[in-house]
């Protein structure tokens, strides 16, 4: 059996076979571990997807042929899980009204609205609660009125006085005729049954259970599945369910407090396109966003490449020390560094103004603020460019440069005609990805300038990127609106994808020229 499998599986050594079996065993274990909660939640689609993934893995590695597949499958599965799935989920969310006020399902929303209609009867009694079960299995609330020292059994017929009871010191009933009194564990487990037990005390009022107590109160609201509506008898309000918007509304258009999650089609996208607050400043933000992305890449690349060329010179001493120091900004958490930079730019107490003897209001003037975010972002980003430039420089063919030298090209000319073009062939994809990253560099803006300067009444600040602007639109104003935020994210994704695609196309033609 084992032999046969080792042949079909294509492992050549015993160690390889054992490793393969171990890995596949771990995969199986993980699959079972992940399947249990999925079955529990009846998420059949998720279960199906999981089973399919496991099947693909087993098929791939338990046969001899299709070698390329063996290399492609892990990467593809991870790409689906961590890249494609989030995008799909974001797009899915963008078609819903998911956000504050629309978080839960319809059933939970109905429950919450009805629960909010329970009011204690003014001057009504409060009781200590026990629960008893009769021989026939009927439940009764066993109640002690501590003020008057009376005992009651509450059933669907109402309250009946109990004479023969045993109580504890507080007065809570521990034993009563005809009833078996529940212990605490049973009470907690079957709490739902107790909560459903309606014990009337008057035309509208009844006994409401809360913890180990009960009080006399009224449930003013009820749900009717027939008309799909909730009626509040006391206030005389009827809310009808509107399944298009996920809310209960009265005829006057007043919404109930809690709504639920529904699909709303393209409404979020239409809102992005028609909202004056977004359309108006969009172009200005977009241009600055492009400038910020391009500026960050150019400045970090220039600084990083300069430093790399300096350290790459033969005969340069102490390069190890310089390199270590140079990596520092990259090694420190940018989160903390950005907050430090933000303090350094304080107008009155900041290090920058004090050192340079200036009085620039870095947060108050548009261009000063833009300079500030570019300076700080350049400092944060150049070590990365330094690292990749250094690597690329060391990989350059020495003969090309030598040949150039013999032809009389030295210094700037050699750099411009030989070094830079050769470097760019290798580095352009990285520069493009750096641009895409900085285009959406939420942290740099949010932690440094917070989009400032924002003038009173404006919705957009001088340093706002599309992403920080979208964030404020979605979360900053009234309450979280994930559906709307997702729609904006999809737009940003389209913009970045288009720009990147165009740039990659340009690179390809460049490669043709130099290779």
């Amino acid at each position: 059996m084992l032999d046969q499998r080792s042949q079909t599986a294509g492992s050549h050594t015993a160690a390889g076979l054992i490793a393969k079996i171990a890995v596949l065993a771990v995969v199986t274990a993980l699959a079972v571990w992940a399947a249990l909660p999925l079955i529990d939640a009846r998420a059949w689609w998720g279960l199906g997807a999981e089973a399919a993934a496991v099947a693909v893995i087993f098929y791939t590695y338990l046969q001899r042929r299709r070698i390329p597949l063996k290399y492609l499958v892990p990467g593809t599965l991870l790409l689906i899980a961590f890249q494609i799935l989030p995008v799909v989920l974001t797009i899915g969310t963008s078609f819903t009204n998911y956000g504050d006020g629309h978080r839960v399902g319809k059933d939970q929303a109905i429950e919450a609205i009805i629960a909010a209609g329970v009011q204690p009867t003014p001057g009504g009694n409060t009781y200590l609660l026990s629960v008893g079960e009769s021989a026939s299995g009927d439940l009764a609330l066993l109640l002690t009125d501590t003020d008057e020292g009376t005992h009651w059994a509450g059933t669907e017929e109402g309250l009946t006085a109990l004479d023969e009871v045993e109580t504890d010191q507080a007065g809570r009933i521990t034993a009563a005729e005809d009833y078996e009194v529940w212990g605490l564990a049973e009470l907690n487990e079957r709490h739902a049954e107790v909560a459903e037990l309606a014990v009337p005390t008057g035309e509208h009022s009844g006994i409401k259970v809360q913890g180990l107590s009960a009080f006399e109160g009224t449930s003013t609201r009820s749900y009717d599945a027939g008309c799909d509506c909730i009626t509040d008898d006391e206030a005389g309000i009827v809310w009808h369910a509107d399944d298009e918007t996920g809310t209960f509304v009265t005829e006057d258009g007043d919404e109930a407090l809690v709504g639920w999650r529904v699909g709303i089609g393209f409404d979020n996208y239409l809102q992005v396109l028609t909202d004056e607050d977004i359309r108006g400043p969009f172009f200005g933000v977009f241009v600055w966003n492009l400038a910020f992305g391009a500026g960050s890449v150019l400045l970090t690349f220039a600084l990083g490449l300069g430093a790399a060329m300096a350290l790459n010179r033969p005969g340069m001493r102490g390069t190890k020390l310089y390199r270590s120091v140079m990596i520092l900004p990259y090694a420190m958490p940018s989160f903390a560094m950005l907050l430090v930079w933000a303090q350094m730019f304080n107008r009155d107490y900041g290090v920058i103004n004090e050192l340079l003897g200036m009085n620039v209001d870095w947060y108050g003037q548009t261009w000063a603020a833009r300079a500030m975010v570019l300076i700080a972002n350049t400092w944060l980003g150049f070590p990365y460019m330094f690292l990749i430039s250094l690597g690329a420089l060391q990989a350059l063919p020495a003969d090309s440069l030598e040949a150039a030298k013999i032809d009389g090209a030295t210094g700037l000319t050699a750099f411009r005609k030989i070094t830079l073009p050769l470097l760019l062939v290798a580095l352009t994809p990285l520069l493009i990805s750096s641009f895409a990253f900085n285009f959406n560099n939420f942290n740099a803006i949010e932690l440094l300038s917070g989009g400032n300067p924002i003038n009173a009444g404006d919705t957009v600040g001088g340093t706002d990127l599309l992403i920080t602007y979208a964030f404020r639109q979605a979360f900053g104003s009234s309450s979280a609106d994930y559906g709307f935020a997702s729609a904006i994210s999809v737009f940003i994704f389209l913009i970045v994808a288009t720009i990147s695609a165009l740039m990659f196309r340009a690179t390809r033609s460049q490669e043709d020229v130099y290779s």
Partner: protein
Amino acid sequence: MRRRTIGTAAVSMAALGAAAACGSDDESGEDGDTGSEQQEFSGELVIWADETRTPVLKEFVADFENQVGVKVTVEEHVETLREDFLTAAEQGQGPDVLVGAHDWSGQLAADGVISPITLTEDQQAALNPASITAFTVDGNLYAAPYAVENIGLIRNTALAAEVPATFEELVAAGQDAGTENVVLLPVGVNGDAYSAYPLFSSMGGYLFGAEGTDPGDVGVASAGGIAAFEKFAELGGSGVLSTSIDSSNATPFFVEGKSAFLISGPWALIDAQNAGIEYEVTAIPGFEGQNPAAPFMGVQGFYVSASAKNALFAQEFVTNYVLTEDLQLKLAEAGGRLPALTAAAETYAEGNADVQGFAAAGEHAVPMPNIPAMNAVWEPFGRAEADSIDGVTPGEEAATTAGQAIADAIDAS
């Protein structure tokens, strides 16, 4: 009164509980029978709290465990407690009880993830009335309050001996002190509506009508609101207020003696004490001839999750156990905030000048509005405050544009 409540609760729960072992009538309850016996629990209760409250809660829930016979688990959620709770609760998961601030209640109630609770008239009467208002949404109470806090005026007594009766006196005393700053009121480049509210309210500004619940009546651009922003512009022009002072540097500057006055909350006292500064806490003075300066009141409380798996224990815990004086005193000592139970607050304030000072400063305090529309206020209000202090926008214009921006944002949602 206090003895009876605790005793009753303890005894009654012990009798009901499966573990009848600990039916001690002993008031102190501290000489525990914890060690020798293995306790058998008849259920579980899960509480989520933030990093500052978790250690205290862990300590005091042991009493509840013994008395009721229910295992209580307190889970710490650093920084993201509210988000974590929302994410879990909207899928029917999460804890039975959530410890949080009152200004979450509007959002959580509208999301349908917390359950209303009912307190008896006696229980309500024993609480600070504003703390009940703070947790009331749409006429329902959603949490049992346990602590209240507000900002006050912290004065360096070596630099200014007299308690200023008006804000004008404060400015004069601050200038006489000869320090770098007249007063340290956090503003920051984005403004700080929370710190500015006392001065705003003194000039007659208000938010959401008289009750703080009407999103249709914003009050930023009311006559009083405009007067307040003009005052900000005036105080900014004379250098009394500055956007360079923010919540991160105000306390350090006070500790360094850069001003005689700091407007902040109980959290600022630790630094002042560590630095050995002689200080006194008093009410923030209003402007001469105007209303008293009313700070925002923040209230902490215990919510019951709508998806609580142990709803019975959660309700019992929140409606009976949290409202005991003993517990509220313990939480107050650990957190330095005034208990919401009036009796506990009096005990706690006895002989504690700082607490009395903040309590006096909170005499006119209004609960920070808990309606979701409040989220629309912070940013435009703060920006208008910063702009008028910087002199970028005249006070009246700043007030009207902010009022308009807030009203627009509320309409849009």
